[in-house]
């Protein structure tokens, strides 16, 4: 009997069981015990999960502290916290909170939804398969964006409730469905709040559709939506209120990110819901895949059916409308009406959260799920007999094609979080170590930790250098961002930063305790460096005297090298003086480090500094019009005037650190003197700018068999030394002795290597290749090789003898039209192969060097050179010459001597009587731009289109005689769509500094913009967007240093599209480009502080939570600065610890009025931390908030809190009350209904009895 019952149940629910079984089968790995980490999905230990209980409005888990923008997922975090409380890490918590909902909820929600629509089980199955195994969910899931998938399934649940409500004509006084709907909305929002927005859009479309068809129903739906929305709002006030209170929404973190990669999204992809990176056999994130052919089949079937049957069900029309709407949004900026998405992104409130359109795939998916369900029902239950013969074929597609997608997951073709991995043992030990209780600190991972392994908690934040340095938000230290700008090399910048004089202080103030250099482990998908970089990184870190390598038990130093800062600071501290500087750069830091008695407490910007500050100002700031060249002499520096208002000014100058190392080839190598300028005060010479660099290399000239390696760029004695020296970003410089190996005919003087060109990419029989030897090309007075390819890839090779050792490959290269040159090096007896592409030189010859090692047992090698076609029928030409391989005989054959830093005080300057003048006879002030004010017409005949994303530009260029600042006319660029641009080029000297200035104006644009490009090998470019205020002309000027190897400067001017509708005008005039001495770092003005402050004797503190600290200051005698190592936010407050900030009401209420340090005394320390000026006179004497000691000093108890946390409590009170009310209502209603049923039953019973 029981067996029959089971069989009967199974028979009744075969489709549900089948769908669940299928889902479990596909995601079977998630049920196992492995670690699932990748990309944005990381492991979190049980202890760290426990910290989720303390989640507040401020987060400092893996940052320097920032407003918690994930507050909306607080309930999810609390559930995770419960798992942590019971000792489970994310291996268990993730299963319950994320993996199981995907395994069970997604197929079931879509099944019930599709079944409900089609009123058929087969329809439910078709809809469920279509929805659950689409390329979008599967692809993004691999990167850990699985909250999106769960939210999407919950959207279906919400729509299911809506459908049920629409079908149930219950009395209008009932709000149960609205509450259920709002609850589901909340769940959607907790996983990904953007999907609440999408649900709102779907409701809006339904409402609009109904409004045209059945107005009464539309009005009913409107009220349903409004009531549900109101309940949702009340339930979510707990995060909305603190968000508004902490200005998180206006800080631009979420809503003002730029649109992301519009080129990925096309109408075709949107129609078939193809995630752009989806490639079923070789899935690589960020590699765009072709749309698989088979994805079109179900779409075409469903749409064909829908078109034919459009009159038979009105819902088909509704779902077609949804389909069109979803496709339209998810194509982002593709045709048709490509401007609409950007317009919505800019103007529609909340739309700014969708920086890329893939989230809108959900709308398309829902519509296709519905249409699939109808189609399946039609196939199996329809009256059209002839279709029934084909039903299994058609239905087969609905099973096979989603399954084909899912099979990529099943077979492990898609990795990411679909495949289990292991927590490296060193990380395991490190994790145990950082979980030990103690004071708060931070860990700086260089270049980046295995981000997926979550080696951080509330106590020990993790900072990833590479990630943080690329972040533009205010919560990242400027010095970290600066490090990235110091070098184009990924790690060179941080090394340069760590070697600077202030590095130890900057790390200490930032509360960094450990600097960790990890190894690249499997699963570290974000780790950007290669293992071979690690040794050189380590060798530099080993030399830093403020770090010491520490050995932690179980942590292998070959896997994870841990350095500890020798002189740490606590996270709450005091200090007495700021160094105020207009901005942070490495030169300012370098200069400040040479000042006596200075510490790394900086205040950047030109705001009012406390009187105890030391103010550093550049005398010749690049941002001010500080000087005029030639005979006119030089006007008073604006910056100087502002500083000289301080009476006790001491002027100092220091020779700048323009280049870290410099070498001059002039017989012997000597220290560079850059210019011979001098400062005159009142007509007499006061200072002579000798420009000794901070570190100067002095070595013998290079011999013919020597090569200099400066940051991986190689120089020989034959290098064309146009520069006065070479700049190194990392400070890594080596000199090698080299000897060439016997590579025959590397200079092609004896002709070709081979008689016939080879085809190195033979895809068909249509090869169009060429190879020849050319003479006298581009100033090369010898022969060179030219390879040409219209199709395939032309190549040629030669062999050579080579044995184990270190070598350098040298190739001269040139190409008139190819972006890259390429070669291949292979060796016998080993698998070592080097295959590289590198940028070519368009004009003249470029030199390429590559360092490589030859493995043991090698006797010979071969080298291939290539010219690769681009597939568009153009003949791509690559020229090569001087192919040589050198054996590196010995490392580092010379030592380097360095010059000392020097600061020379030059005495007082009285601004009323002394005129400041800079004289330099070397510079003529000659204007280098011809037609600089457009008096002779345009720079180019036609307006350029600098963003041709389609074939419909709306751009123009004209000369405007009405609006101008110089001569008769100005240039006017006009744009409605695309980017209008024009360009001019001028010859420049590598290494020289130029001053560019121009005027700009616009009647309606928000910004003007320019771009400067150089023709060096690296194609160095600078670009700037200039804010336009009002409609008056504005002036811009800046200094530009020409990079090495560049001989031409090209300047582009732009008018940029805003929303594709508005016509934008940008006008430019009065250009000037002059060569100038680089004085930006030559002279500084330094003011001494007026007031001597004394630090309090002792500061102790206790961390209550991420948003609250209690500090006790002992024996303060003068005013002092209180610093806190959390990133700056104006809502951090310092309050007196008294009854005004404590108690039942004042302890949490946002309406409390505590005694606090005034906002104007809250400073941004080092450009990102908090510091307050605590005036003891005011705080202790006038306001009596301290305890006086017998020696006349004061003790004070302070509370430092992040005020929006109080708004969180307030919001929780409201949301909690709303939740209790809703649950009470549902409970009451349930009891009432039960009672009614009982009474009705009794009446019926009695009535029957009566009868």
């Amino acid at each position: 009997m029981a067996r029959e019952k089971i069989l009967s149940w199974l028979k009744q629910h075969w489709e549900v069981i089948g769908l669940i079984f299928l889902s479990v089968f596909i995601y079977f790995r998630w049920i196992g015990p492995g670690y699932f980490v990748s990309s944005d999905w990381q492991y979190t230990s049980a202890n760290s999960l426990k910290d989720f209980f303390h989640i507040g409005t401020w987060s400092n888990l893996n940052s320097f502290g920032k407003v918690n923008l994930n507050l909306w997922r607080l309930p999810i975090a609390l559930v995770q916290g419960i798992f942590g409380f019971f000792g489970f890490d994310t291996r268990i918590a993730d299963k319950a909170v994320f993996f199981f909902p995907i395994i069970f909820l997604v197929p079931l929600a879509s099944y019930f939804y599709a079944k409900r629509l089609s009123d058929s089980r087969v329809g439910g199955v078709a809809g469920s398969l279509f929805f659950s195994y689409n390329t979008y969910f599967l692809a993004i899931g691999s990167q850990g964006h699985i909250g999106i998938t769960i939210s999407s399934a919950l959207v279906l649940c919400a729509l299911l409730v809506l459908e049920k409500w629409r079908a149930t004509k219950i009395d209008s006084n009932s709000y149960a469905y609205q509450i259920y709907f709002a609850f589901i909305m909340c769940l959607i929002g907790f996983y990904d709040f953007r999907f609440v927005y999408i649900l709102g859009l779907i409701l809006f479309i339904q409402l609009a559709f109904l409004f045209l068809q059945e107005r009464k129903e539309a009005i009913r739906l409107f009220f349903f939506g409004a009531q549900s929305g109101a309940i949702y709002l009340l339930l979510n006030l707990f995060w909305l209120i603190p968000f508004v209170a902490s200005s998180a929404t206006s800080s631009g973190v979420i809503f003002s990110r730029a649109l992301w990669r519009s080129e990925l999204f096309t109408l075709s992809r949107a129609v078939v819901v193809h995630q752009p990176f989806w490639n079923p056999e070789q899935f690589i994130w960020h590699h765009v895949g072709q749309i698989p052919f088979y994805l079109w089949i179900p779409i075409l079937l469903v749409l064909s059916y829908s078109v034919i049957s459009i009159r038979k069900r009105k819902d088909i029309l509704l779902y077609l409308v949804l389909f069109l709407f979803g496709v339209f949004l998810s194509k982002q900026e593709a045709e048709p009406f490509n401007w609409v998405y950007r317009w919505l992104f800019v103007h529609l409130p909340g739309f700014g959260a969708f920086r890329e359109a893939s989230k809108f795939y959900l709308i398309t998916l829902i519509s296709l799920t519905g249409l699939s369900a109808y189609f399946a029902r039609f196939l199996f239950l329809g009256k059209e007999k002839r279709w029934q013969k084909l039903r299994f074929v058609c239905f087969g597609f609905f099973i096979l094609i989603p399954l084909l997608n899912a099979s990529s997951v099943l077979r492990g073709k898609i990795d990411g979080i679909y495949l289990a991995t292991k927590l490296p043992s060193s990380y395991q030990s490190l994790l145990r170590y950082i979980e030990q209780p103690g004071n708060r600190y931070r860990i700086l991972w260089i270049p980046e930790m295995g981000v997926n392994w979550g080696i951080f908690n509330q106590n020990a934040s993790a900072i990833n250098y590479y990630e943080a340095s690329g972040t533009l938000s205010d919560d990242v230290p400027p010095w970290l961002r600066l490090a990235k700008t110091l070098s184009s090399d990924k790690t060179g910048g941080i090394l340069r930063m760590l070697r600077s004089g202030f590095a130890a202080d900057l790390l200490a103030v930032s509360n960094i305790r450990y600097v960790i250099l990890p190894k690249e482990f499997p699963g570290d998908t974000k780790n950007p460096f290669r293992i071979e970089d690690r040794d050189s990184l380590k060798s530099v870190l080993d030399t830093l005297d403020y770090l010491k390598e520490v050995t932690l038990e179980g942590v292998s130093s070959t896997e994870v090298t841990v350095y500890e800062l020798k002189n740490r600071m606590q996270s709450i501290f005091s200090f007495t003086s700021f160094i105020q500087s207009p901005a942070l750069d490495d030169k300012i830091l370098g200069f400040a480090s040479t000042l006596q008695d200075s510490k790394a407490f900086f205040l950047f910007g030109n705001g009012t500094a406390p009187s105890s500050s030391t103010v550093i100002t550049r005398l010749f700031s690049s941002s001010t019009e500080a000087f005029v060249y030639g005979a006119k002499g030089f006007s008073t520096a604006q910056s100087f005037v502002s500083v000289s208002s301080t009476p006790a000014m001491v002027m100092k100058y220091r020779n700048p650190k323009t280049y870290t190392y410099k070498i001059k080839r002039a017989g012997k190598i000597e220290i560079v003197q850059k210019d011979s300028g001098m400062i005159k005060v009142a007509g007499s010479v006061a200072l002579r700018s000798e420009m000794n660099d901070e570190r100067v290399l002095e070595v013998d000239p290079l011999k013919e068999d020597e090569v200099l390696d400066v940051d991986g760029a190689f120089y020989t004695s034959k290098t064309d030394w146009k520069l006065n020296g070479y700049r190194t970003d990392s400070g890594l410089i080596d000199r090698y002795k080299i000897s060439p190996i016997d590579l025959k005919n590397g200079d092609f003087e004896s002709g070709l290597w081979e008689s016939h060109v080879r085809d190195c990419n033979r895809t068909d029989d249509k090869a169009d290749l060429n190879m020849r030897v050319e003479r006298f090309y581009y100033g090369n007075n010898s022969r060179s090789l030219a390879l040409a390819a219209r199709t395939h890839a032309a190549c040629t090779k030669t062999s050579f003898k080579i044995t184990e050792g270190n070598y350098l490959l040298h190739i001269k290269h040139q190409s008139p039209n190819a972006e890259k040159a390429s070669y291949y090096l292979g060796f016998d007896g080993s698998n070592t192969k080097i295959r590289e592409e590198f940028p070519t030189q368009k004009f003249g010859w470029g030199e390429y060097w590559k360092e490589f090692s030859v493995p043991h047992g090698t006797t010979s090698g071969e080298i291939y050179l290539y010219a690769k076609s681009t597939g568009d029928g153009r003949e791509m030409i690559n020229r090569y010459d001087d192919v040589k391989i050198y054996r590196v005989a010995s490392d580092d054959v010379s030592s380097f001597r360095e010059a000392e830093n020097e600061i020379i005080p030059v005495g007082m300057i009285n601004q009323d009587t002394d005129a400041l003048e800079y004289v330099d006879p070397q510079y003529s002030g000659k204007q280098l731009l011809t037609n600089a004010s457009f008096e002779e017409g345009f720079w180019q005949e036609k307006v350029g289109d600098c963003n041709r994303y389609d074939d419909s530009p709306q751009i123009a260029m004209r000369l405007n005689e009405g609006e101008k600042t110089d001569g008769k006319q100005s240039l006017e660029l006009e744009v409605t769509r695309h980017v209008a641009c024009t360009t001019a080029s001028v010859p420049v000297r590598p290494g020289a500094t130029y001053r560019l200035s121009f005027d700009y104006q616009s009647p309606n644009a928000r910004q003007a913009s320019y771009y400067i490009g150089f023709n060096n090998l690296e194609k160095t470019a600078l670009k700037k967007q200039l804010q336009i205020i009002g409609s008056d002309w504005q002036h811009f000027s800046d200094s530009i240093t020409v990079p090495k190897g560049a001989t031409t400067l090209s300047i582009y001017l732009y008018a940029r599209e805003e929303d594709g509708v508005k016509t934008i005008l940008n006008r430019y005039d009065h250009f000037s480009l002059q060569e100038v001495p680089d004085l930006s770092d030559a002279f500084y003005v330094v003011t001494k502080s007026e007031q001597e402050l004394i630090e309090p004797k002792l500061i102790t503190y206790e961390t209550i939570s991420a948003t609250k600290r209690m500090a006790h200051v002992s024996r303060a005698s003068t005013a002092f600065f209180l610093g806190m190592s959390e990133s700056y936010h104006d809502k951090w407050m310092v309050e007196a610890d008294n009854k005004k900030t404590n108690g039942i009401w004042n302890g949490w209420s946002p309406f409390a009025k505590p005694d606090r340090v005034a906002n104007e005394l809250h400073y941004k320390l080092n450009g990102f931390l908090n510091a307050w000026y605590v005036d003891v006179d005011d705080w202790c004497v006038h306001r009596a908030l301290c305890k006086e000691n017998p020696d006349g000093t004061y003790d004070m108890d302070l509370v430092i809190e992040f005020w929006p946390q109080r708004w969180l409590y307030f919001g929780l009170l409201i949301s909690g009350s709303a939740l209790v009310s809703c649950l009470s209502y549902l409970a009451y209603r349930s009891v009432r209904n039960r009672r009614r049923r009982v009474i009705t039953g009794a009446i019926n019973f009695l009535a029957k009895k009566e009868l």
Partner: protein
Amino acid sequence: MNLLSEKWKKSVRSQIERLGMKRAWNDISSKPSLSFAVFVVAGLIGSVLGMRAGVLWGVFIAFAVYDWESRLIGGAAILSLIACPILLQTHLDAWADVMAVYAYFFLAMLIGLQMIERKRYPGRFSEDV
């Protein structure tokens, strides 16, 4: 094959006659002033928004005013969509996108015409599978 059966042939022929050119020509020629108005409106739109827009709007208006079978437009949408994967497979991606745009416009027209039809002839719409 069933598709070639007499019944099918007849059905197809009758469908073409019902929906096809003959009826279209009759409609256009029987109401010359209306046809002229449609042509003028399409021309005006075309002069402002471009030829493609003019033609598409002209087709849409013609289908709306003459009450032609709107599913023909849907058929055009499906044909355009069928062309997309073929063009993509032959690496003519730009053409595929153009065809997808046409498919999109045709589908939008179909929906617009259906909305009009529902207002005009509510009786035509049965809730049947």
